[in-house]
């Protein structure tokens, strides 16, 4: 093993295979090890001046073992290239010991998967720019945003993370996946006459700097600044009540996330998350109608053109299961859930390739991938077509903050921006607007689903789940949709 100039460690995979033999010798019936090594670099500017530059590097090991029927897990950071083997051996011994300490509890069993040996390289066209260029980049972006009238605070961040994940199991899997991720965010705070409004937009992609160029971040910053300005200068608070609600893809990303994506996670469906993230109201409704026939929703992690660069795209999950497409709602009927090997065994289902941890040092959990509403074949191609027959309604834009009950039944999701709809046209800008509904009533009320031209996917950089909480990156979206829900105007 050698320490590269970049700060990432080169991991000898033979060591991982030997470690798995050691796990079996210790008495594990199954074990897997994940090793993640990374380097990151980022810069942040405030009002046109770079305020922080942060870089980091590290390597972590996480070992999961089944012995006596329960899971044991141990993780450690690697202090240096010579200490790697010691950390690996300690983690294995501890994980197996932990598993054996729980032999009095019922046995965990796993659905079968075919072990794979593969190395998947990161796909990118352009290397990230160097640190000096990053500093210049964020300064210019935040300066442009700050120049707009009423903007009192503009923050811009950019970063890249170069990482490699290794997965090795006692069943013979040996998978290495390289990732290059670029991203950042823009935040503007506008102030006028005692009123403040914040508008925030993250951006990012799995890939190289070509994505940052494509996003045109300076224009994005100006749009963020302009919307903050408009929210304090011209927007009004909406009237609360039940109405026709049109949701843009930038709102549907959080809507599908909260009311479809989380409740199809099988650990929640089976009750395993009941102390934290909660349960799923549609637990026993597979095969039943839960939404309008226009509604189809899927999770699809497969690397294909429309998923390119999105966080929910990968080749194998953290159990070595290949990425796949899972249909959750098909024409309004509840179909499949997202499964781990364990929940698949318990449910008589197939593992979905959805087990991911945000760090090798943490246990993987069932997570969304690219989870979205499908567009309707032959559906309207434009926003204008979607709203032409609406006399009175509200158009919800870029999502902000969710609040949803622990069964994912009653929800409120707010938006940074919304607009009134009057006589088939988009009207005045609304602020402090939230959509409130009950999942089945709302999903069944959907009467227009936009066609493929209205479909968009967005990045979610911060999905929280588990204890200790893990923050996962994934992607959500959908086409323009029209349904009935309550609008709440707030403070």
């Amino acid at each position: 093993m050698a320490s590269k100039e970049s700060g990432k460690l080169d991991i000898e995979t033979d060591l991982l295979k030997r470690a798995m033999d050691l796990a079996l010798e210790h008495g594990a019936s199954y074990a897997d090890v994940r090793v993640e090594t990374y380097i990151s670099e980022g810069a942040q500017a405030e009002n046109g001046l770079c305020k922080s530059v942060a870089k980091g590097a590290g390597t972590s090991v996480g070992v999961r073992a089944l012995a006596g029927g329960s899971w044991g897990f141990a993780s450690m950071d690697v202090p240096d290239e010579h200490g790697f083997k010691g950390v690996l051996d300690d983690s294995i011994a501890r994980a197996v010991r932990h598993a054996k300490a729980q032999t009095r509890f019922p046995e965990v069993k796993l659905a079968k998967v075919k072990p794979v040996r593969k190395h998947i390289k990161a796909e990118f066209e352009r290397e990230p720019i160097d640190l000096d260029a990053k500093v210049k980049f964020v300064q210019e972006v935040s300066k442009a945003a700050k120049s707009m009238e009423t903007i009192v605070m503009s923050l811009a961040e950019v970063y890249h993370v170069d990482s490699t994940k290794h997965f090795c199991s006692t069943e013979g899997a040996l998978i290495t996946q390289d990732f290059l991720r670029v991203g950042g965010d823009i935040l503007c705070n506008a102030h006028r006459s005692g009123q403040s409004q914040t508008y925030y937009k993250p951006y990012g992609a799995l890939g190289g700097w070509e994505f940052i160029e494509r996003f045109d971040i300076e224009s994005l910053a100006l749009r963020v600044a302009n919307m903050s300005r408009r929210l304090v200068t011209e927007a009004r608070v909406p009237k609360s009540g039940l109405t026709t609600v049109v949701t843009k893809p930038s709102f549907n990303m959080l809507k599908v996330h909260e009311i479809v994506g989380h409740p199809v996670e099988a650990d929640r469906v089976l009750g395993g998350e009941s102390a934290w993230a909660g349960r799923a109201w549609w637990k026993d409704l597979q095969g039943k109608r839960v939404a309008s026939p226009l509604v189809t929703a899927v999770s699809d992690a497969r690397p294909m053109e429309k998923h390119k660069g999105f966080y929910g795209t990968f080749a194998f999950d953290d159990e070595g299961v290949p990425a796949q497409r899972v249909v959750h709602l098909q024409n309004g009927i509840l179909k499949g859930f997202l499964h781990s090997r364990q929940t698949a065994y318990l449910s008589g289902a197939r593992p979905s390739g959805a087990m991911r941890a945000n760090h090798a040092g943490l246990m993987p959990m069932i997570r969304m991938t690219n989870t979205y509403f499908e567009p309707a074949t032959g559906g309207p191609s434009t926003l204008e077509e979607c709203i032409e027959d609406i006399k009175d309604g509200v158009l919800m834009g870029h999502q902000s903050i969710p609040s949803i009950d622990s069964r994912r039944y009653r929800f409120q999701i707010s938006a940074y921006e919304a607009w009134e709809i009057k006589n088939g046209e988009v009207g005045g800008l609304l602020k402090n607007t939230a959509m409130m509904g009950t999942t089945p009533e709302y999903l069944k009320s959907i009467n227009i689903v936009g066609g493929p031209k209205t479909w968009e996917l967005y990045q979610i950089p911060n999905c929280g789940k588990g204890d200790p909480m893990q923050i996962m990156r994934l992607s959500n979206g959908g086409p323009i949709m029209v349904g009935k829900a309550c609008i709440q105007g707030g403070a």
């Binding site: 929940t343 204890d467 403070a491």
Partner: protein, 491 residues
């Protein structure tokens, strides 16, 4: 691996040698979490468990070096601890500082405050990582309390240690400080198919594992879960509310403690009343209106990191300053605001020693920059018994022991949305009638809630919320102006 003080000394020595460096801070932490996760799984109507399904140990160590060159602050963090790796960390931090222009808002790294640290002894068993077997025993004893087939128990029983060592060139240092705490956080629910009929929560926490009582936590949770609610819901409308300690903790965590932070005021993300004022440096910033009334006279809020037995206590903050008790709100008036040294210096104030490095892994993380957090946030006990609070409330009243996803409608706003996570109670003719969990959405406004506090209970409990870094030591609170929302059902 080098030990923590040696790593700090080495980092400081290496950085001082670098040309042009004005100030240096070296920080190293080692964190260990041992946890047992308990849960019931119910696939296809069968019950599996409850059982301790995962016993895990997460260990991380990280070092961070911060160098100041002509008011530009460069940072590098790593978990490689060899001398060449630390030299590289220093080189990178210097490189980062040189990539930036001077930060006109930077005054200096933390300077000694003259305050004496309040030492709180850690638990050696937790520090050694030997807590696993005790935690498994506690889980087993807690699950043995389940006496009915339709009751589920889920949650975590955990022990955490955080060891910190740091020093800067201004004479601030922590030679070695260790904090330990343990928590049992358990949820019990009565289920009927997909329905959660009744739900409760229980907590036990302490600094030492001897005082941990998972059975008491389970018993509290089961007491509520055994109830048979008489109402499936409560009518929509405005209510007086008596929030239980867990609901008060949830509300304060998401709507109050983050607002009481100077950096959030600076960025415009706090709802505290503020004005734009010019600082002596000429910079115009938001300045909180100290001594302004922000709550009713019944509200006093204290941050106390020095309590011997409380899980949130810390001897030092992560900038090396001894922590101390401070009154944040006194009889409704804003008296103090939490700060780290960067923002305190900018505002010409003294740091409240509240700069903590919390992040996405357990403990205190060198890779996270200090940000202000409360430690033990206390609302002192009032004079009212639970029965007296019920008697005192005039008009429609709900008693809500536990809320869920209490989040603001927008960043920096006062409006919030929530749900009743546990069984709650509707007061009818002086009698508390149990209402099912997840029965409705709640909406409110933190300013109105604080203004409306009429009475404070006499029994306090320690609680924390999902993924919170702080402990909340709070009683029942009677206030007004919370709305029960039943979206789509209320046409």
């Amino acid at each position: 691996m080098e030990q923590l003080p040696e790593i700090v000394d080495m980092l400081l020595a290496l950085a001082k040698r670098a040309h042009g460096v004005n100030e240096v801070e070296a920080y190293v932490s080692r964190n260990t979490m041992t946890s047992v996760r308990v849960e019931t799984l119910r696939p296809k109507g069968r019950t599996v468990g409850p059982f301790g399904q995962q016993l895990f140990t997460l260990q991380n160590w990280e070092a961070s070096i911060k160098v100041v060159i002509n008011k530009a602050v460069g940072v590098f963090s790593t978990n490689y601890m060899t001398r060449p790796a630390l030299q590289r960390a220093v080189d990178m931090a210097v490189r980062n500082a040189r990539a930036m222009a001077p930060d006109p808002d930077f005054v200096s790294l933390a300077r000694p405050t003259g305050k004496r640290p309040v030492a709180i002894a850690p638990d050696p068993r937790i520090l050694k990582g030997d807590a696993g077997p005790t935690l498994v025993d506690q889980v087993e004893a807690a699950t043995a309390l389940i006496d009915e087939k339709d009751l589920d128990l889920a949650g975590s029983v955990m022990a955490v240690s955080a060891e910190v060592c740091m020093a800067n060139t201004n004479g601030v240092s922590i030679d070695g400080s260790a904090d330990t705490f343990t928590v049992a956080a358990l949820t019990a629910e009565r289920v009927d198919g997909p329905e959660v009929v009744s739900s409760g929560v229980g907590w036990s926490s302490s600094r030492k594992i001897k005082q941990l009582d998972a059975c008491a936590a389970a018993q509290d949770a089961l007491t509520w879960a055994r109830m048979r609610p008489e109402r499936k819901t409560a009518p929509p409308g405005e209510y007086n509310v008596i929030l239980g300690p867990y609901a008060v903790a949830d509300l304060f965590d998401n709507m109050l403690s983050n607002a009481l932070s100077l950096d959030r005021v600076y960025y415009g993300w706090s709802w505290l009343p503020s004005d734009f004022k010019e600082l002596p440096t000429g910079k115009k910033v938001r300045v909180p209106r100290m001594n302004e009334r922000i709550a009713s006279e019944a509200v006093t809020i204290i941050d106390d990191p020095t309590m011997k037995a409380a899980m949130g206590s810390r001897t030092y903050d992560d900038e090396g300053l001894p922590t101390y008790r401070k009154v944040l709100i006194e009889k409704g008036d804003l008296k103090e605001i939490l700060s780290s040294s960067y923002y305190a210096n900018l505002y010409g104030r003294e740091s409240t020693a509240s700069g903590f490095r919390y992040g996405l892994r357990p403990g205190r993380l060198a890779s996270c920059e200090p940000s202000s957090y409360p430690t033990n946030l206390i609302m002192p006990a009032g004079d009212w018994t639970y029965d007296e609070l019920i008697e005192e409330s005039k008009g429609p009243t709900l008693v809500i022991p536990r809320t869920w996803y209490t989040y603001p409608t927008r960043y920096g706003g006062t409006g919030f949305s929530s749900s009743n996570r546990s069984t709650c109670f509707l007061i009818e003719k002086g009698k508390a009638v149990p209402v099912a969990p997840n029965a409705f959405k709640l909406s409110g406004d933190i300013r109105k809630f604080l203004d409306g506090v009429q009475a404070v209970g006499k029994d306090v409990k320690v609680a924390t919320t999902w993924a919170a870094s702080s402990a909340f030591i709070v009683p029942h609170v009677l206030s007004s102006g919370i709305r029960v929302e039943k979206p789509q059902e209320q046409k």
